[in-house]
């Protein structure tokens, strides 16, 4: 294939626009006549609301309207309900209360939106919001994941009587417990998977514009899936789908939280129609800290029994996940049949007990964040494997080798009913060990020691899962000028689809890369079966739908070519953009031109070469990106500062469509994983329930100096067997591999002190304290 075909490191089409300031993000949308919105937010973590007085706010200069939940509900706005089918072992369903868009009775987390103020300018709206008087009766609050289920914890929903939404279990534990009790080696870990602020760089915005003539609300908003959002939001607004148009052009990062049902967007859309003027809301960064969904936030207790040879016999895992003040669209799902379903990841463990308790607390609701449960699952398994190495005396590599699922066992159906189609987990680990020069580590450690630094090396082997929802629709249209347009149901927000899809079309149809255009981001033109971009699904779902749309174009093209060449359709072959019959041929561009001209078409054929494909994958046909990451750190033992000095990743993403972009996904995922493990922590004050890490002044976003120049390779020997392209998801792997590899490395560096684990994030103080504690324990 050519230099722009599949597999080439093609430079991105979208870059010129984004590098010259011509990107168009939601905050760049300005609609004439717009009013500005500001939200009144709860200053309390937990409080009953006795009354809301809007009179003073309405008098404030420039304020045009003030709305509360009562107004929205009178206007038909629906509360958020959750499709979460989990039950306990007795069949009792999960408690999943509705979330009101703007509650008028009780606030359940600090920052929860309670009223909407509209004014002529943004500053006037903010000033007006300060004048809305809410009579609060503060209540005791709970923020701690571990303690939310305690009998004496303040309860968010008195009607349920407990903060535990459900106690879900995959099976009865007895057999597992007996196996572990009888095992030669028994290891256990207690882990905190810290709460994170997702913080895509573009703060959340919403601009709504209502057209009375057509009765259509147009909502400009960052998203990850146009049609998914249209369906969900129309339902909440209680209007037909075709009365809500969703538009997003450029979106400044997603990471899982962009497509969620946010109260602010619903309120803004409703208000625009209510008042008949466009409404714009721009979240400040500090505001997004307490209103965007947060990520992670679990505590895990895991026990594993191994035989004398270090083979795992059984695993027992108990997870508490903090879902926040309300469910979140997917919050409780993540550890159960979201990412958590990947347990026991790459390991051949058939006997395991798995228990999950989602708990409500007075915190921002949590939801999908890069990896969505898989980073948490892999972190548990990798910490267990390190503990197993420690207990058995095997090396960390060897204990993994003995337990990873060998390629010969594939396809492999896990106890959680995933089918691993392809992968070379042990081979990938061996590649990484070699690339990282694991064998040369001792010399590097000695060199670091000379400089007073403790050096450590850590390894993580991981398997994750890509796919998400089982359908996606794409449309490929050939224009009369020979160019092609891809109408995408997916939604690129940094992934580079404009480039990759064009590579595909060049490959599949022979239409030059720069004559392929991507159209996305408008519900008026997006295929109705569009779902979106999350869960590392765009290539495996959207890509396959493009492949099949192109196949349909080729089939129709052959009929047209046969007509033009006066041949039988069966004689026509399609090769590299040419329809050929013996020695004569006609290009796809000529066929496209002909297709636009009914006089040149076979009788009865509809004009145009314009094909949609709604791809529905088989239920089992997800895929399982996997890899091995090795991290090397230097620890300053006096201060506890950890510096990553070497990072090596080998990822199996199946067929790599564009290595430049897939490497970018790996590096970005690693950075988010390292952020979680090194600097990021959405800490709440347990007494007041206030988010202490409430801005970039307190929340440690990873910076360039936290990373070395990373090295990433692919193991491309294992194309996915369940999709046409052989691709596996590439977006989330880094976030799975980095935290356990990093923690493993730091613990290895501190091995002279006998440190076994440090909870994330490994801040200087925590590392220093671990050393100090270990030293004093030894002295005692």
């Amino acid at each position: 294939m050519g230099q722009f075909g599949i597999g080439q490191p093609v430079r991105r089409k979208e870059d010129i626009r984004l590098l010259t300031g011509k990107g168009r993000y939601t905050d760049d949308v300005h609609v004439d006549g717009q009013v500005w919105a500001a939200f009144v937010r709860s200053p309390h973590a937990h409080a009953d609301i006795r009354g809301i007085d809007i009179a003073a706010a309405l008098e404030s200069p420039g304020v045009t309207h003030v709305f509360t939940g009562a107004d929205l509900e009178a206007g038909g706005v629906q509360p958020l309900l959750y499709d979460l089918p989990f039950k306990d072992r007795n069949g009792k369903p999960m408690f999943k209360p509705a979330r009101r868009i703007l509650p008028t009775d009780r606030a359940r987390f600090g920052g929860e939106p309670l009223a909407l103020v509209l004014a002529e300018t943004a500053e006037q709206a903010k000033a007006g919001a300060e004048l809305v008087e809410i009579d609060f009766e503060p209540l005791p609050c709970v923020t701690s994941t571990a303690r939310a289920g305690d009998p004496d914890a303040p309860v968010l929903y008195p009607e349920h009587g407990s903060n535990v939404a459900v106690h879900w279990e995959n099976r009865a534990p007895d057999e597992i417990d007996a196996l572990i009790a009888g095992a030669a080696h028994k290891v256990s870990v207690d882990l905190v998977n810290n709460r994170l602020v997702v913080a895509p760089m573009e703060p959340r915005c919403a601009v709504a514009d209502y057209d009375a003539a057509s009765d259509v609300i147009t909502l400009y908003t960052p998203t990850q899936g146009i049609m998914t959002m249209q369906t969900a939001f129309a339902a909440l607004l209680n209007i037909p789908k075709n009365k809500l148009r969703i538009v997003a052009q450029d979106v400044g990062g997603g990471f899982g939280i962009r497509s969620k049902r946010y109260p602010e967007s619903i309120a803004v859309a409703w208000a625009a129609k209510k008042i008949g003027r466009p409404v714009k809301w721009r979240g400040d960064r500090s505001e997004t800290f307490v209103s965007d969904y947060h990520g992670r936030d679990q505590v895990n207790h895991a026990v594993m029994g191994l035989d004398r040879d270090g083979r795992v016999l059984a695993l027992r895992l108990e997870t508490i996940v903090n879902v926040g003040g309300y469910c979140g669209d997917n919050g409780p799902r993540l550890p159960i049949d979201g990412g958590g379903r990947i347990i026991p990841c790459g390991y051949d463990i058939e006997k395991f007990y798995f228990s999950v308790k989602p708990v409500y607390t007075n915190t921002v609701p949590t939801d999908t964040y890069r990896g969505a449960g898989r980073p948490e699952a892999n972190f548990i398994m990798e910490r267990l494997m390190d503990a197993a190495a420690d207990a058995t005396g095997l090396s960390r590599i060897e204990v993994r080798r003995r337990n990873l699922i060998p390629t010969s066992k594939l396809p492999y159906r896990t106890q959680m009913d995933f089918v691993y189609d392809s992968g070379d987990f042990i081979g990938t680990m061996d590649m990484t060990v070699k690339e990282a020069d694991w064998d040369g580590f001792a010399a590097r450690r000695a060199e670091s020691e000379k400089r007073g630094k403790l050096r450590g090396i850590g390894i993580a082997s991981f398997v994750e899962q890509a796919g998400g929802r089982p359908t996606e629709e794409m449309r490929v249209k050939l224009e009369a000028d020979g160019s092609a347009t891809v109408y995408a149901g997916t939604f690129s927000h940094g992934q580079g689809h404009e480039t990759v899809y064009a590579q595909m079309v060049e490959d599949f149809l022979g239409i030059p890369f720069d004559q392929v255009k991507l159209v996305q981001g408008d519900s008026d033109t997006t295929p109705v079966g569009g779902i979106g971009t999350f869960g590392s699904r765009s290539s495996m779902m959207g890509g396959v739908a493009i492949r099949r749309s192109c196949n349909q174009i080729i089939i129709k093209g052959k009929r047209i070519a046969a007509h033009l060449l006066q041949a039988e359709e069966s004689q026509v072959r399609f090769e590299e953009g040419l329809f050929k019959v013996n020695v004569s041929s006609v290009s796809i561009q000529e066929v496209a031109r002909a297709a636009a001209d009914p006089s040149k078409l076979p009788e009865g054929m509809k004009a145009g070469l314009d094909e949609n494909y709604l791809f529905e994958r088989e239920p089992d046909a997800m895929n399982f990106p996997n890899g091995c990451h090795i991290c090397e750190v230097e620890v300053d033992p006096d201060l506890g500062i950890v510096q990553i000095v070497k990072y090596t990743a080998v990822d199996d993403c199946g067929v790599v469509l564009n290595p430049l972009l897939v490497h970018g996904q790996v590096y970005g995922g690693v950075a988010q994983g390292i952020g979680q493990a090194l600097t990021e922590d959405a800490v709440y004050d347990e007494t007041s329930g206030q988010l202490l890490a409430g801005s970039f002044m307190d929340y440690g976003m990873p910076r360039a100096h936290h990373f070395p120049h990373m090295v990433a390779h692919f193991n491309e020997s294992q194309p996915c067997k369940t999709n046409d392209l052989g691709v596996k998801g590439a977006g989330e792997a880094g976030a799975c591999g980095a935290p356990p590899a990093f923690v493993s490395a730091v613990v290895d560096a501190l091995s002279p002190y006998g440190v076994k684990h440090i909870d994330m994030p490994l801040t200087p103080e925590r590392v220093w304290r671990a050393i100090a504690d270990a030293k004093s324990k030894r002295a005692a």
């Binding site: 500053e123 006096d638 500062i641 976003m701 801040t763 220093w768």
Partner: protein
């Protein structure tokens, strides 16, 4: 942010006149702290007096053995100044560690010390180097200038015009950077003037302070081992989500030793 009246005086005298006449007026130097504070509505002055166009406040000059840095001299200028790098390299190094390059293109020494943020870097430099703060009214010894959390000896209407440094025989600044804000979790300036040693600590307490026991120990013998057994009482230190008082006390000890080692 609430709106305000903006003033751009051309001289210190004019600036002093405005702040003398308007009770709620606020002086603005680089604005690196004031503007974010105003955005969060934690400050809403009626008037802003921008010191950015007063030529007499800018620049770095030698005055005999002293180095005088104008109040409106930016961190980037101090960090890259040949004069400062030659006379007091530790001060240039300190300035180069403040915030980030874009912040250093705006933030000023006068603004930093007048704001007296407990985690700012400059207070450690000014106190550690035994500088004299010059104002439109008087000269204030560094030891008398910082009086508490965001508090200084400045009277209403008093404007810092510059800081006068004398070159130490040697000095070194060590900093543990805050993981998010970039401020000093702990910053330690150690300066040696003959047998007189000064150790100034920022970030750790509610205001910059001198570690007297360390100074005494180092004055007796300027060596890392002199600091063995000298500790800072954690009871007086700040504690927050990033660093407990215990840890800060420990870090002060480590950074002080490193600073001494760097210039021994």
């Amino acid at each position: 942010m609430l709106d305000f009246t903006y003033h751009r005086p051309a001289s210190v005298a004019d600036a002093a006149k405005i702040v003398g006449e308007i009770e709620d007026a606020k002086l603005m130097a680089g604005g690196m702290t004031l503007i974010p504070t105003m955005k969060q509505r934690l400050a809403s002055p009626s008037d802003i007096v921008d010191l950015g166009r007063i030529p007499e406040l800018k620049g770095i000059r030698r005055d005999g053995a002293d180095l005088v840095i104008g109040a409106m001299t930016r961190h980037a200028d101090v960090a890259s100044s040949a004069l400062v790098r030659e006379a007091i390299p530790a001060l240039a190094s300190l300035a180069g560690q403040i915030g980030d390059p874009a912040v250093r293109h705006r933030g000023t020494i006068g603004g930093s010390i007048s704001n007296a943020d407990p985690a700012a870097d400059y207070p450690a430099g000014v106190v550690g180097l035994d500088a004299v703060v010059e104002t439109n009214q008087r000269q204030i010894a560094a030891d008398d200038f910082f009086t508490g959390l965001f508090d200084t000896a400045l009277e209403p209407g008093e404007i810092v015009t510059g800081v006068r440094f004398r070159a130490p025989d040697a000095a070194n600044y060590q900093k543990l950077r805050h993981p998010a804000s970039g401020y000093a979790v702990v910053g330690v300036m150690v300066a040696r003037f003959g047998s007189n040693i000064r150790v100034a600590i920022t970030g750790a307490g509610p205001s910059v302070f001198r570690a007297m026991e360390m100074e005494a120990a180092l004055s007796a013998k300027f060596a890392v081992e002199s600091l063995a057994g000298v500790s800072i009482d954690a009871a007086d230190l700040l504690s927050d989500m990033h660093a407990s008082a215990d840890y800060r006390a420990h870090v002060v000890g480590v950074l002080a030793k490193r600073a001494v080692a760097a210039i021994s």
